[in-house]
C-alpha cells in the first residue's frame, strides 16, 4: 500500500509549502497514479515550471527538471520528441501554465505532443505573495487587486478541447477521483490536460474571508459535482474528464 513512497524523495520532507496547502495532495495523487501504472525513474520524467507548484518536481524520486518560468511545456516537448519512450509529465501551477506559458499550452495542444500536463490551479500567484493570476475570479481581492479583480477568469477547457485532446478537472478534496483522472490522462496517447482545483490559504483564502484551509477544501466538496458524461464539456462546477 505504501509502495508508491519509493517514487518520492522522503529525505527532502517536510516540503517548503505552507501548512494546509493543496500541492502535497497533488504530489501524493500523482505518485500513487504513477505507481499503479508502473511508472518509475527509468521511463518517466517530470518537468515543472516556476512557482509554488514548480518546486513539486524536486520531491519525486525521478529525473525531474525545474525549468524557467512558463517554459515547462516546450522543454517537455523537446524531451518527448528526442526520446519518445519516456513518459513526460508536466506538473505546474496556473500562473506558470496559463499566463506566461499560455502560448506554449495553445501550441502543444495543437501539435498533440504526447505529454500530460497537470495544472494545479490555486487561483493565485502564491510564491510571490498572492497577486491576481489569470484564474483569479472576477472581483476577488488580492495583493495586486485591492479593489477587486477587474477581469474574469480564464477558461482553459475550450482551448484543450478545440484540438480534441483529453481535458480533466478534479479537486484536492476528491482525492480518489483526482487519482483516477490523472491515471486516465497518463494513459492517453495524445496531449492531455488535468486541471486540479487546489487551495492557497495564505495567498488567496485569507483575503477571500476563509478562516482555515479546511474551509476552502470543504467548499470544493460543496461546490463540485461529478460529471457522468465523457463526451460533453464540463460545466463550471463539474469534475470529470472529457475526450470527444
Amino acid at each position: 500500500m505504501q509502495d508508491y513512497l519509493t517514487l518520492l524523495k522522503l529525505k527532502k520532507l517536510p516540503t517548503t509549502w505552507c501548512p494546509g496547502c493543496g500541492n502535497g495532495l497533488v504530489v501524493k495523487a500523482l505518485a500513487q497514479a504513477m505507481h499503479e501504472l508502473k511508472m518509475n525513474k527509468h521511463n518517466t520524467v517530470i518537468v515543472s515550471g516556476i512557482g509554488c507548484n514548480g518546486r513539486s518536481a524536486g520531491y519525486f524520486n525521478l529525473e525531474s527538471i525545474h525549468t524557467l518560468h512558463g517554459r515547462a511545456i516546450p522543454v517537455a516537448e523537446g524531451i518527448k520528441t528526442a526520446n519518445p519512450k519516456l513518459n513526460v509529465i508536466v506538473l505546474s501551477g496556473d500562473g506558470d501554465l496559463l499566463a506566461i506559458g499560455g502560448n506554449h499550452l495553445l501550441h502543444a495542444s495543437r501539435r498533440k505532443t504526447n505529454i500530460t500536463v497537470i495544472c494545479v490551479n490555486n487561483r493565485i500567484y502564491g510564491m510571490t505573495g498572492g497577486q491576481a493570476s489569470p484564474t483569479t475570479p472576477l472581483n476577488a481581492k488580492t495583493a495586486s487587486t485591492p479593489f477587486g479583480n477587474e477581469f474574469p477568469e480564464i477558461d482553459v477547457q475550450p482551448v484543450v478541447l478545440a484540438n480534441n485532446n483529453l481535458y480533466a478537472r478534479s479537486t484536492v478534496y476528491h482525492f480518489d477521483h483526482l487519482k483516477q483522472v490523472i491515471k486516465k490522462a497518463l494513459l492517453d496517447k495524445e496531449f492531455s490536460f488535468v486541471e486540479v482545483m487546489s487551495n492557497c490559504y495564505q495567498g488567496y483564502g485569507k483575503k477571500a474571508g476563509y478562516m482555515h484551509p479546511y474551509e476552502i477544501i470543504m467548499d470544493f466538496k460543496k461546490n463540485y459535482n461529478m460529471s457522468r458524461s465523457h463526451k460533453k464539456e464540463l460545466k463550471k462546477n463539474e469534475i470529470g474528464f472529457v475526450k470527444k
Partner: protein, 344 residues
C-alpha cells in the same frame, strides 16, 4: 568541394557534427537554416516562438540528443533567459545567431554586428559564454562542428555568430571528413533521479540561500569555459613590418577590408568571447596605431581598448553598408591623436 551559402554550410556542419534535433522559428535572415534543415534527417520542431525553440532544444539535449537552434537578433534577445538557464544547468547546446541591423525590427535584410555584446552579457546574472564568429562559408561549416564539439566538452551552450552577408554568400566549401566528432558524455534522462534546476544548486539539490555554494558554482562554470576556450585560441593575424598600424576587425567586415592586408597589419579574432586578451595584447604592443572597424556603433572597441590600454581609432559601419575607399582614406590620414575618430 561544394558550392554553397553560409546558412547551408551551418546545416551541413550540424549534420556532420551529429545534430539530431533542430528547434526554430522563421526569422530573416536565418529562415533558410530552418528550411534547409527540414529536408535532412535531422528532426525539426518549428515552434511558436524563439523562447519555445531554445527551451525545446534544451529539453532534447537533456534527453540525450545533440540539438541546436538558429535565429537572428530579435529572436536572440528572446532566447537570453534560456541561455542563462542552459549555463546554470550545464547542458550542451548550439545557438546560431545570424545578425541583422537592430534594434527592434531594424533592417531585416541587412547585415550587422550588433549582437556582439548581447552574446556576452545578454542574460541576467554572471556567466561566461563561448562565442565564435567565422568570416567565410567554409569557416561557418567548420565552426558549426567546432561549436558542437565544444558544447559537448564543456557541457554548456556555445553561440555561433554569423550575419546576413555571410548567410547569403556563396562560396566553395571543402567538406573535410577528418574532423573529430565529440560524443555525448552527459547521461541522458531516464538513468537516475537527478533534479535539474535553474535555482542555485550543488549536486542536484537546490541551494538558493547559500552564498558559499553559489560562489563555488560560479567559479566552476567560469573555469570550465576558460579551460574549453583555451583549446580554441582562434584568430587570424598577418603582420606588416613597415607599417605602424594594426587593423582589428572580425566577421563580414574583415572580408571587406582584406585588401588593406597588403598595407597594414591585420588581426581578426574568431573566438569572440572569451576575449583573446593575451594574444591581442602581445600583438598590439608592436603597433603605434590600432584601428577597430566594426558594423555597430562601438561594441568590441571598448573591449579592445581595455586590453591594449591605449586609446584607439574606431570606424563604425552602420546600416549594413560599407564604403571601403572612405575607410582606406581615413586610415591613411590617421595621426596619433588621443581621441577616437568616427567616420561614415
Amino acid at each position: 568541394m561544394k558550392l554553397t551559402n553560409g546558412n547551408t554550410a551551418i546545416v551541413l556542419g550540424a549534420l556532420k557534427a551529429g545534430c539530431r534535433l533542430f528547434a526554430g522559428y522563421p526569422i530573416t535572415p536565418a529562415s533558410s537554416i530552418l528550411e534547409e534543415i527540414s529536408a535532412t534527417k535531422i528532426k525539426v520542431m518549428q515552434m511558436e516562438d524563439e523562447i519555445a525553440s531554445i527551451n525545446c532544444a534544451i529539453g532534447a539535449s537533456l534527453a540525450g540528443v545533440k540539438s541546436m537552434t538558429a535565429t537572428s537578433g530579435p529572436g536572440f534577445s528572446l532566447m537570453q533567459e534560456a541561455i542563462g538557464y542552459s549555463n546554470m544547468i550545464e547542458v550542451p547546446l548550439v545557438i546560431v545567431d545570424v545578425q541583422r541591423v537592430g534594434p527592434a525590427t531594424g533592417m531585416p535584410t541587412k547585415p550587422s554586428q550588433g549582437d556582439i555584446m548581447q552574446s556576452r552579457f545578454g542574460s541576467h546574472g554572471d556567466y561566461c559564454p563561448l562565442v565564435f564568429y567565422p568570416n567565410s562559408v567554409e569557416e561557418l561549416y567548420k565552426y558549426t562542428i567546432k561549436a558542437f564539439n565544444n558544447a559537448e566538452i564543456g557541457e554548456m551552450p556555445v553561440v555561433l555568430l554569423s550575419d546576413a552577408f555571410l548567410a547569403n554568400l556563396y562560396e566553395t566549401v571543402n567538406l573535410d571528413d577528418n574532423i573529430e566528432i565529440k560524443k555525448r558524455k552527459l547521461k541522458p534522462l531516464g538513468k537516475a533521479a537527478r533534479h535539474i534546476t535553474g535555482l542555485a544548486h550543488q549536486r542536484n539539490s537546490p541551494k538558493p540561500q547559500s552564498p558559499k555554494e553559489y560562489r563555488s558554482f560560479i567559479d566552476r562554470i567560469f573555469k570550465k569555459t576558460y579551460v574549453t576556450a583555451k583549446e580554441n585560441n582562434d584568430y587570424e593575424f598577418s603582420g606588416k613590418k613597415n607599417s605602424d598600424t594594426l587593423i582589428v576587425s572580425y566577421g563580414c567586415v574583415s572580408r571587406f577590408l582584406s585588401d588593406l592586408k597588403n598595407k597594414y597589419a591585420f588581426f581578426r579574432p574568431i573566438r569572440i568571447w572569451p576575449f583573446l586578451k593575451k594574444e591581442l595584447g602581445l600583438i598590439a604592443k608592436n603597433y603605434k596605431k590600432v584601428v577597430v572597424v566594426e558594423m555597430n556603433n562601438g561594441q568590441y572597441r571598448h573591449e579592445v581598448e581595455r586590453v591594449i590600454r591605449k586609446r584607439l581609432f574606431f570606424f563604425r559601419v552602420l546600416g549594413g553598408e560599407i564604403d571601403i575607399k572612405k575607410i582606406e582614406k581615413n586610415i591613411e590620414k590617421l595621426k596619433c591623436k588621443t581621441t577616437s575618430l568616427y567616420s561614415n
